[in-house]
Symmetry: C2
Subunit: 484 residues, 2 copies
């Protein structure tokens, strides 16, 4: 433990102002509110201050000051966590450190195919900068306009192109991070091979700001695809979707960029709330797939490959109908339907959010069994099931029956339904949080799905890097804190 | 620190025999010799015993016993480390734990595209098992017949297909590892997305057996490519090679599977020692490239792409000559020339091995500058420079002049040449061990290329997971051990 010197809030605030400047130190509760309330408006915390440092050195100085006085620090990027991972608790003794002023793309190296940038760059800005340089940065998630690279790294973000390009972890060559005591770690080297000791960056990626604050990164860039082919496909059932995916991988290999499953109720929800949008297929279906192929080759070849996948699917009775995007506008419209599912649920008062992954060979059975168990608990729930089936990942989100009041439905069902679904996933060697992370919302659920050894190891690492538990406390690691 | 109960070697050996069986506990020095001497015959260690456990439970019991009595354990796979990473030191107080009896491929899931296997499976056997199931396991390194999956994981092996498929780390979904005290950690889940807490497997991958002993893994499988196109290309110089690579990535995207640079002296060395083999091109060249494209499409399309890359290269003056493999036999012959470079050096008494990576945008300048500096020290050295330029990785291996005695050349030049080359790489933000790891050979060089914070973090992790420093002691982490 560090020796704690007591400091009054007044003196601490003075110190913070001296580091980041007056304007970048927010101290009035109402001004802090956007930083202390989470994206889903489920967690309403308080803070001593919100600081907006402009450089790694300022982040380092803030952490050193807080470390010296035992003040908790909550790192924050775009504040788009679905798990309450980026806001402080109600105690009001923490400093929120938001990285949005650190928003410079520092270098794009088109020969090395890398991009070096600060943690506060939004994903959208990062993608745009890469594209301007004739390259693709492939991470693609719904919140790209708000979420920041630092948050993408801290949560190992996934999204709709993981099937082809991997998670954020796979796209990262190096990071810079500030440790709880203010020391700066850097591996901003842009190397694709570097076996010189422990790969320390892996500790900070996906640990949700509990071990260090990521301030910059070197990311991989890819060739911009020259062709894409997109189709909205009605399939017999999730088993047929899995078979179709296997066929697509056989026929198109790594060109299969996205393979999203969409349940009938998920699409219906979007179409009801967006009456001006058209359905992609003339009739309603229980299960659909949105597939995207991309390549650096010619469009005709890719279209032919997509067509042959669909023909195979029809012949084998997997596919019952399909619409191929005839233009970029069509493709965008298909994707818009898919992307809107999330907000459409929010407009209905919110669903019971389960973010499951399972080996692909078991996912169809999982969907059937989990649906059966959920409908036994909540008979008329709308089964909003969708997501990245290509990665074995579905968002399994039961929604209140039409007409039923949202609050009562959620109060009655949230805990029991999510425990049912998560429990089933755990027993099948699946994950209860494929891409959303743990934050505070799923924190204590780790006790149900992780082995004692896994939990012990997590604490061993946490204690080694943050011995006084100051960085994003009470996130990720289940409470109570075990004795060392 | 654990409380140490003294144990006599006799009692320890009795305990080890009781765990693994008499036949699997080797105690006679001459029988141990293949396990205590490294692949390059540079390190000649001693051991109390060599144990060959047959199961994870046996590994766990061996570690628990050794932990209770403070006995160091050196994990070993195929013993093909180039860095002395898999053999004990001369003290003779350690137990070598070799995993070769744990050689079962436990499951291949062709829907999930995963393979679950024990750590002692050789890379060759793993690739063969995948191929039999109609899938590709893409790791490809020269020692595949001997090296084991556990060693590949512990050293984050690279090789000739990283450009397309990534390092061993990128190919791994889960592992099982035994901790220093015998506890068993497992993440054998086969999930492509799982953000439930710290990604603990990353700690064990690439840490060379200093934090835990990997006993099993779930690896990613890929579609078997249906077409490949291979060419041996003479290029103007390394700058031209980098430009040609950029053109190849533009034209062929992810189909570019391997892009190997080969210097004139590297090829000459192979042809001299293998007079029955033919040169791929009619005349000698200073710099050559071996390129391989693979795809799931048709061979004609891929051939056309390769041809257009070569035509572009010729037009732009990058390529001076090229031979396209007209058959699988041709392609194999090209690869054989490339693979033989390593053994050809050994037959000449060994070279000064530097394994450098540098951002691709700087690698050509690096080769020029490093060559100049090395030739100033060792004027007639043969510049055997070759390797995975597509990853920014070259093996930069100056070899004694023809006729000069090997031992004298190495004694005079090894330290000063490797420090010159490594120093230049370090100053350019490169790596002094792109894929070979650290082991004992490069251990103290980390003091020259890592920041104090990186070294402190490595020790923080080591102490957290192996507080009594029993697993592969004196490897990877530079000596002296700092005070906690």
């Amino acid at each position: 433990m560090n020796e704690v010197s007591k400091i009054s809030p007044t003196l601490l605030l003075e110190g913070l102002r001296a580091i980041v400047g007056e304007k970048a130190c927010i101290e009035v509760a109402s001004d802090m509110q956007p930083f202390t309330t989470d994206y889903r408006k489920l967690y309403h915390g308080k803070a001593l201050a919100v600081v907006l440092p402009a450089s790694t050195e300022q982040v380092s100085a803030v952490l050193a000051l807080c470390f010296a006085h035992n003040v908790p620090v909550v790192p924050q990027g775009g504040n788009t966590s679905l798990m309450g991972g980026a806001v402080p608790d109600a105690a009001g003794d923490a400093v929120v450190l938001n990285l949005r002023r650190m928003n410079q793309v520092q270098e794009i190296d088109v020969i090395n195919d890398t991009m070096t940038l600060q943690a506060g760059v939004t994903l959208q800005a990062a993608r745009a900068a890469a594209e301007e340089a004739g390259r693709l940065f492939p991470l693609r998630i719904g919140s790209e306009g708000s979420c920041q690279i630092g948050g993408n790294l801290s949560t190992n973000a996934g999204g709709t192109a993981v099937l082809r390009y991997g998670n954020m972890r796979d796209l990262t060559l190096g990071i810079e991070a500030v440790l709880p005591d203010g020391r700066i770690y850097s591996s901003l080297r842009g190397l694709r091979k570097d076996n010189t000791g422990y790969d320390l960056k892996q500790l900070f990626i996906g640990s949700e700001g509990t071990l260090g604050i990521i301030t910059a990164a070197v990311l991989k860039l890819m060739p911009l695809p020259s062709a894409s082919a997109v189709a909205w496909i009605a399939v017999k059932d999730p088993h047929a979707a899995v078979e179709l995916l296997t066929e697509a991988k056989r026929a198109a290999g790594q060109a299969v960029t996205a393979f999203e499953l969409i349940s009938g109720p998920a699409l219906a929800l979007v179409l009801e709330s967006m009456p001006q949008w058209s359905a992609p297929l003339p009739s309603a279906h229980d299960w659909m797939v949105l597939i995207e192929l991309t390549s650096g080759g010619d469009a005709e070849g890719l279209d032919a490959t997509l067509m042959s996948i669909l023909e195979q699917g029809m012949e084998r009775g997997l596919v019952t109908d399909a619409a191929i995007a005839a233009s970029l506008a069509d493709a965008r419209a298909f994707w818009q339907l898919r992307e809107e599912i999330s907000d459409a649920q929010t407009r209905e008062g919110g669903s019971i959010k389960c973010d499951i992954s399972i080996p692909l060979s078991k996912i169809a059975d999982f969907i059937a069994e989990a649906s059966k168990q959920v409908l036994a608990l909540a008979p008329d729930a709308r089964m909003v099931i969708y997501g990245h089936m290509g990665d074995g990942n579905v968002h399994f989100n039961p929604l209140r029956p039409k007409g039923a009041p949202a609050a009562a439905f959620l109060a009655e069902n949230y805990a029991r339904v999510s425990h049912t679904v998560d429990g089933l996933a755990t027993r099948q060697n699946g994950s209860i949080s494929a891409e959303h992370g743990i934050g505070v919302a799923k924190r204590d659920d780790l006790l149900l799905c992780k082995s004692p050894v896994e939990l012990e190891l997590m604490w061993q690492i946490k204690r080694a890097l943050d011995p006084t538990n100051l960085l994003n406390p009470a996130k990720v690691l289940p409470l109570p804190t075990p004795a060392p």
